[in-house]
């Protein structure tokens, strides 16, 4: 391939990628924070800024409303709210960012869950004047449930509390304590004023008592190791590549994206659910043959033996094979407008495998504000978080979500029209939670997880 050796190409191609999500309400100034990040990191270009200035003037505002940078659809512009997850892109010389910008209203829990599902970091915004409110606790709970590795507490509107350190310190303390009870591994608290620009991109002259990084500095330097490579290796097979051409008469490769861990040539592997064993003969990493590959690389794996492998199977090292089960207990977020009910027949999509399933039980619904459990709700409606017990028609090689966000997550789908009903996380809800009571369902073939 061409290597140009030019700084523009070389310097930029060495950057890493961070996916992060924001949570907070319109009133907390979230759109302004996002607008400020884009604007001050020079990611807003002239024509976008002109459009915002035009629209701001049209609304009778005299300064450009940075929040307008992120309003997408007409319905939102008319109502002045954000109704869906929007993705934003910006870059600094140090890193490329993908921001899942999610609305903070109570009825949009599902959007925050969606945004957090792929995020390695979540920014939770609070208004310095109001401190930690119910909604803040809800956002912390979603970040904890979705196991977002890094949480940032951005205490906004510090300009309205005279940039007073004690205000910030007490909010930070309360939030960090609460997050710890949820098992959030790490919280970084930053005092900011999105409107004035303090500590978003530029360090604040008004808060010299704060010695930490600005929001952008933190985003640029936080480790993007979500420990995917440190987990046991999991390789869900997406597609079987068999050219059957004169050039490659016998080539048989299993294409997929490594969901977690590291795979090496020569490693003994087991194919699930069949349990057949073989050895990795070769790894083709999109055009080059390699000895080692890791998550989240897309590769093609060749095995030494002619075992029967197809889409939906999972290849794992024989030294660390996941249990297979037909009984799934999980915490779910219901994302559809129609409810999920006990006895409902659904499809369950886990990695590359989709199987028939029945909702055996909905033991409880969770109120995110105070984490109180409501036993036997009978059904879950849109934006509900709850526990479900599911029986599948075929065995799944399912990990606990706490061990792998990629092989511990699943969707429930309505077989009638394909609607995505529910987002599921196998195993227990919160890292710091006491184990929940086991469901009254029949014993599984293998014990799935320790409850």
């Amino acid at each position: 391939m061409t290597t140009t050796g030019h700084t523009a190409t070389e310097q930029l191609s060495a950057t890493t990628l961070l996916r992060f999500a924001t949570a907070g309400s319109v009133d907390d100034g979230k759109s302004t924070l996002v607008g400020r990040l884009l604007h001050d990191s020079k990611s807003v270009l002239t024509d976008q800024l002109e459009a915002v200035e035009r629209a701001s003037l049209g609304r009778g505002q005299d300064t450009p409303d940075l929040a307008l940078l992120t309003d997408g659809l007409r319905a939102e512009r008319e109502q002045g709210i954000t109704i869906d997850v929007a993705y934003r892109y910006f870059a600094t010389p140090r890193r490329r960012f993908i921001l899942a910008d999610t609305p903070g209203h109570v009825q949009y829990t599902r959007n925050m869950v969606t945004g957090a599902s792929t995020a390695e970091l979540a920014v939770v915004l609070v208004d310095a004047r109001n401190g930690v409110v119910e909604q803040t606790r809800r956002h912390a709970a979603v970040a904890a449930l979705l196991r977002v590795p890094h949480v940032v507490l951005a205490v906004n509107k510090m300009d309205l509390v005279e940039y007073a350190e004690p205000v910030f310190a007490s909010i930070a303390e309360e939030f960090t304590g609460y997050a710890a009870t949820l098992g959030v591994p790490e919280v970084t608290a930053i005092p900011i004023s999105a409107l004035a620009g303090d500590n978003v991109v530029e360090p604040s002259a008004n808060m010299d008592w704060y010695g930490g990084p600005t929001v952008l500095e933190h985003l640029e330097t936080v480790a993007v190791s979500h420990d995917l490579a440190g987990c046991p290796a999991r390789f869900p097979v997406q597609y079987v590549i068999r050219p059957q051409s004169a050039e490659h008469p016998d080539y048989r490769g299993y294409a997929g994206q490594i969901a977690s861990g590291v795979l090496r040539v020569g490693e003994a592997v087991t194919v699930l659910p069949s349990g057949r064993t073989s050895t990795i003969e070769g790894i083709d990493a999109l055009g080059t043959s390699v000895d080692i590959a890791w998550a989240p690389q897309s590769v093609t794996i060749r095995l030494s033996d002619d075992v029967d492998v197809s889409r939906g199977d999972l290849i794992a090292p024989s030294s660390g094979v996941p249990a297979t089960t037909r009984d799934v207990e999980a915490t779910v977020c219901h994302v559809a407008d129609r409810p999920l009910t006990v006895g409902q027949r659904v499809l369950l999509k886990h990695t590359t495998r989709t199987v028939k399933a029945i909702v055996k039980d909905i033991p409880s619904r969770l109120t995110l504000d105070d984490l109180s459990q409501h036993p036997a709700p009978g059904q879950l409606v849109a934006n509900d978080i709850g526990r479900v017990v599911i029986r599948t028609a075929e065995p799944l090689a399912l990990d606990a979500y706490r061990d792998s966000r990629r092989t511990g997550s699943f969707l429930l789908i309505d077989p009638a029209d394909g609607t995505t009903l529910t987002a599921g996380m196998a195993g227990e809800s919160f890292a710091a939670e006491p184990p929940s009571a086991p469901a009254a369902d029949a014993a599984a073939d293998d014990q799935g997880w320790d409850f």
Partner: protein, 323 residues
């Protein structure tokens, strides 16, 4: 000042800009590798779950990168999809030549939906402004119906325009190809739900998370050949609504629109009636990347008339079934 902050990274040093993470060092991916891996994953998902996928291929840079990812995703086997081009009749000859060369080189099959044929048949009417971009929707949707395509790959990127920022990777369309933003399914983790009713199809956007700069960097890294109009060249152009348009029999220049020879290149390649050229001396990929890095205008703002129609223009066209 120490608050109850658990860990603040040191933030020193440049390079990878990594903090105290530690565990990722040997197993990091560059942003281009991460985006490539994600794109390949999307292509393979579609191959595994759909019967009749097709790739929208115009010979523009985004569709070229899409095809490149598809070739990588299935190598050493051929790409298991056909290609589809919606030809407005006003395409740049250099781009059509590139399209045909590429199709032949990889032994692919190309479907063409022709706007001109619809105009000749009286089904579509030429617009007063000569722009044919909005006329692409009907030939596209009818071709999808006629060929029973169930997955249609598009090169759309979320960074292009505000309505696209809300687009899913798998975007469900009804039998009229309409996009209803409220009917789109939540998309979680890397679990794409492609199930659909007969007659419906899914638009798939493997480059959703790429930016213009990512696309160019990837083209440079992979050494992908592009149509020559992406690089600086002398061209007879005239100015309309502040854009340099190419002179041609598609409807320009009109009286009072003097033409001049300028050194220009194209940042995006739509068709001649709506794609403006930008003044440029960049004759190499590196020069182009340097220019983009320094540019203060977004790609579409600089060169696309179709997005400027109204603040909600793209949203409306997407609802009707546009790309």
């Amino acid at each position: 000042m120490a608050t109850s902050v658990a860990s603040v990274t040191d933030g020193t040093g440049g390079g990878e800009g990594e903090g105290t993470g530690g565990s990722e060092a040997p197993y990091a991916l560059s942003h281009l590798d991460a985006l490539e891996s994600e794109g390949v994953h999307i292509f393979r998902e579609v191959a595994g779950e759909f019967e009749r996928p097709v790739i929208l291929f115009s010979g523009g840079k985004d569709s070229i990168v899409m095809l490149h990812l598809a070739l990588k995703a299935f190598a050493p086997a051929p790409v298991p999809f056909t290609l589809l081009h919606v030809d407005t009749g006003h395409n740049f000859p250099e781009v059509l030549a590139y399209r045909d060369r590429t199709v032949a080189e990889h032994g692919l099959r190309l479907h063409v939906a022709s706007v001109q044929e619809y105009i000749d048949a009286g089904t579509l009417r030429e617009r007063p402004d000569g722009t044919r971009n909005p006329l692409q929707t009907l030939p596209l949707t009818e071709k999808i119906q006629a060929e029973r395509f169930d997955a249609v790959f598009g090169g759309g990127r979320r960074d292009e325009e505000k309505a696209r920022a809300k687009e899913r990777v798998f975007s469900l369309r009804d039998e009229f190809s309409q996009w209803d933003p409220r009917r789109q399914r939540p998309e979680l983790w890397q679990l794409y739900n492609g199930r659909h009713a007969p007659g419906e199809h899914v638009r798939v956007f493997p480059l959703s998370n790429w930016t213009e700069l990512d696309v160019w960097q990837y083209i440079a890294r992979e050494g992908i050949e592009l149509p020559e109009i992406y690089f600086a060249h002398e061209r007879e152009v005239f100015n309309r609504h502040g854009m340099w348009l190419t002179a041609g029999d598609w409807g320009g220049p009109k009286d009072g629109e003097p033409t001049e020879k300028r050194l220009v290149r194209y940042r995006t390649v739509g068709d001649m009636s709506c794609t403006g050229a930008v003044d440029s001396e960049a004759t190499t990929l590196d020069a182009v990347i340097t220019e983009i890095t320094a540019s203060r205008l977004t790609e579409r703002g600089a060169s696309r008339a179709d997005d400027k129609m109204s603040e909600a223009a793209m949203e409306d066209r997407k609802r009707e079934g546009y790309f």
